[in-house]
Symmetry: C2
Subunit: 270 residues, 2 copies
């Protein structure tokens, strides 16, 4: 094929494994394009995004879980495609989920954390590629109320999403986790197990969600915790940070998947 | 670099124009990756999508417009990047917007439609790449109530989004449009202008939005109309279709941009 503008073109080559090459060929056949012709729109789409970290991804609207839909077909592997940082739970509400540095942890009611595989399913998860815009350092003790007030001060608008990661030492952390709920009662009737960590170092991973879209995610601040050794954690109830670094990411884009399971499709979510 | 699995790899080459090559290099530099190394994740991301038509894109949450935020920086050009089919309005509520077959129209209170440029701004728009999964034909007259009941019957779940395009002849269409609202009063106080079309052919373009996320888009069915000659239209109030084809697209993904304007960031949206 003649390439009249070759002097202005630059050629790159890409080496794909069999599976990806096959997917590329299938997509090409479907779109009646050569595999090479698909690479350009793929690249344009990729580069047109503001880069990783620009979106909060929700695997389902939180409202469905609130109405007792505790099983979905979304997997941790799918969630990881949309972020390396996040929160959530597992099918049947089997513990709290934290996704930190690309690794997903399950925290059961004994506060112990373990790494979970990509095949594990979740009825609700929230993730982003963490990429903070600002970092605040606090090297004095804040009680829980001062901690909350501090967080409220550092977010410029309540109508935006934020990813928030807090690393450091905490004088006290009141936590909870939930155990498997096979009877799928409304979430308001689920009794979480409470526990407390004292003088602990670790990481709070969380999000701020604008309150006007509470049907989609937990409104306001929502944190899960993992200890420094990544062996314990839970859902944060109250925190008394002592020496921490707060990293804040502004997120102005939301991506939401609506499950297509029978339960989701047929439940009254209003 | 040695490539031990070369026998399982397939090599494709891509020829990029200067501008795209430069963007690729910049993105590579930022991510500390070679330009070639970026092509693979770009391709994976592209192939992992179910293709165009899988998402409803909202340029802003509808709630902001409900609270009187009538000016935003999103443009029709930006909206078109996310779809060739859609609805919306213009800054200052200057008429109804319909996006049909990739062309955006503005419909003022006299019911006349004109094509608008990509630079025009919108406080709220909703778009998708229209790709229907099913088509229903109705060649008898339905009154407005029967029409609504028919639409309710063909959507399998009220918890999903749908893109709906209805082409054909209508015995009657009661419409409205709005005029410029420079004083930004709450939308509930805006008085639209009503008008009626009789024995008209054209296209209704619209969406169904699950009611539990009414903060984000117009809940339930929401249609705008364009005549066959694309010269008149409006916001649908009531329809009496006589001979129409209803094309329905199931959409299980939402993409929402949160505006970053001062007004949006500082308004109480709850």
């Amino acid at each position: 094929m003649a390439e009249p503008h070759q002097e202005e073109q630059q050629v790159y080559s890409i080496s794909l494994n069999k599976e990806l090459a096959k997917r590329l060929q299938t997509a090409g056949a479907r779109a009646a394009m050569t595999p090479e012709a698909i690479l350009e729109p793929a690249l344009k789409q990729y580069l047109s995004r503001e880069g990783p970290g620009d979106a909060v991804y929700l695997s389902a609207p939180a409202q469905a879980m609130m109405k007792g839909i505790y099983k979905e077909t979304a997997t941790i592997g799918e969630v990881k495609r949309h972020g390396d940082f996040g929160l959530g739970t597992f099918n049947d509400l089997d513990g709290e989920m934290v996704l930190l540095d690309g690794v997903a942890y399950q925290i059961r009611t004994d506060g112990q954390a373990c790494v979970v595989g990509d095949e594990v399913q979740t009825p609700f998860a929230c993730a982003t590629f963490f990429n903070p815009a600002s970092v605040e350092k606090i090297d004095w003790e804040l009680d829980n109320q001062e901690f909350k007030a501090f967080l409220e001060r550092i977010i410029p608008s309540e109508n935006m999403f934020y990813g928030i990661r807090i690393d450091g030492t905490f004088s006290e952390l009141k936590m909870w986790s939930v155990s498997k709920q096979p009877d799928h009662q409304p979430i308001t009737e689920v009794r979480p197990t409470m526990f407390t960590f004292c003088d602990v170092d670790g990481t709070l991973a969380g999000f701020y969600t604008p309150k006007f879209i509470k049907a989609l995610s937990m409104p306001g601040f929502h944190f899960h915790f993992l200890t420094g050794d990544r062996r314990h954690g839970g859902h944060l109830k109250e925190a008394t940070p002592r020496d921490v670094r707060i990293s804040l990411q502004f997120i102005s884009r939301l991506e939401l998947d609506l499950p297509t399971t029978f339960d989701f499709m047929t439940t009254d979510l209003v």
